[in-house]
């Protein structure tokens, strides 16, 4: 991992590109194998920011849960192969990172293939410093915005 001394420089550089809607955006089919792609990109950003290892582990777990929700519940077979089926934004923030996972699927509410409320969202809530669950753009699909900061480490 890079030395923490690198971080202020990187943050200054990132501040200069703040006008960009999202520093890193992934648009992928909602397939299980693509969750690993999201995790790799997340690790790359987190390590460049020199975030603490435990925070990175929490982020990996929470983002994996959010993406798994999209893969398992958001789509019937028709829509999941679209490149925009699952969209993940990675946004470095002042003290950590915000991650937004968005889909264009069936939206919030009970999934027909779920027997009851799962552990995914409570787990994500426990791992994040802030969590916002809402409808996606145009009231379509769902959007999970997760904030991570070193203070949230071990909150679970």
């Amino acid at each position: 991992m890079r030395a923490h001394a690198f971080t202020p420089t990187l943050r200054a550089e990132l501040a200069q590109i703040g006008a960009t809607p999202s520093p890193v955006r992934l648009s992928l089919p909602a397939q299980p194998r693509n969750i690993a792609v999201v995790r790799r990109a997340l690790e790359a950003v987190a390590e460049e920011l020199a975030l603490p290892r435990r925070l990175i582990e929490d982020m990996r777990l929470a983002v994996t849960e959010a993406c798994t929700n999209v893969v398992r519940h958001a789509y019937d077979d028709a829509g999941r192969e679209e490149a925009s089926a699952m969209r993940v934004d990675l946004l470095p923030s002042e003290h950590g990172m915000e991650v937004i996972v968005e889909d264009r699927g069936r939206g919030l509410g009970p999934s027909p293939d779920a027997k009851g409320p799962g552990l995914g969202l409570p787990l994500i809530a426990a791992l994040t410093s802030a969590l916002e669950v809402s409808h996606g753009a145009d009231d379509r699909g769902s959007r999970i915005a997760m904030s991570f900061a070193p203070a949230s480490i071990g909150a679970a």
Partner: protein, 135 residues
């Protein structure tokens, strides 16, 4: 669907990564490309080649992109990985290929890729690089 619209939405099965020009382009792109090259079942030496191409695109592409981000569509096939870089400025595709020359080494993308093409699309163009392995 028009070509531009198809590019905006991506082809089915495509992974699109869009990274704001800056310090995250290299680290993110090389990891995503490495991951997808492994998924495409490229052998280790070709996986290394793919990561090297990704590094070169990350360092050279920002100067030729239309927007302030590096956008790459990635598609895997049977021992094949394709990278579609763009939208690039007019002439940006060829300029990016030329920029991939390293003193003493030559043109890295041309040496490592199985196919390189530049496809125009309206006011923009795309550089398509394909890496494959045939046993």
């Amino acid at each position: 669907m028009t070509g531009a619209a198809a590019s905006a939405n991506g082809s089915p099965g495509t992974t699109r990564v869009s990274i704001a020009s800056g310090p995250l382009v290299g680290p993110v792109l090389r990891r995503v490309v490495g991951m997808l090259a492994a998924r495409a079942d490229l052998p280790l030496d070709r996986l290394d080649d793919a990561v090297l191409v990704a590094d070169l695109i990350a360092s050279r592409a920002p100067a030729h992109m239309q927007a302030a981000s590096v956008d790459v569509d990635l598609q895997t096939g049977d021992r094949t990985l394709s990278l579609k870089v763009g939208p690039l400025r007019p002439g940006g595709g060829q300029a990016l290929i030329v920029d991939a020359s390293v003193p003493g080494v030559g043109n890295v993308i041309e040496q490592l890729a199985d196919d390189i093409s530049v496809s125009p699309d309206g006011d923009a163009e795309y550089l398509v690089v394909r890496l494959a392995y045939s046993s």
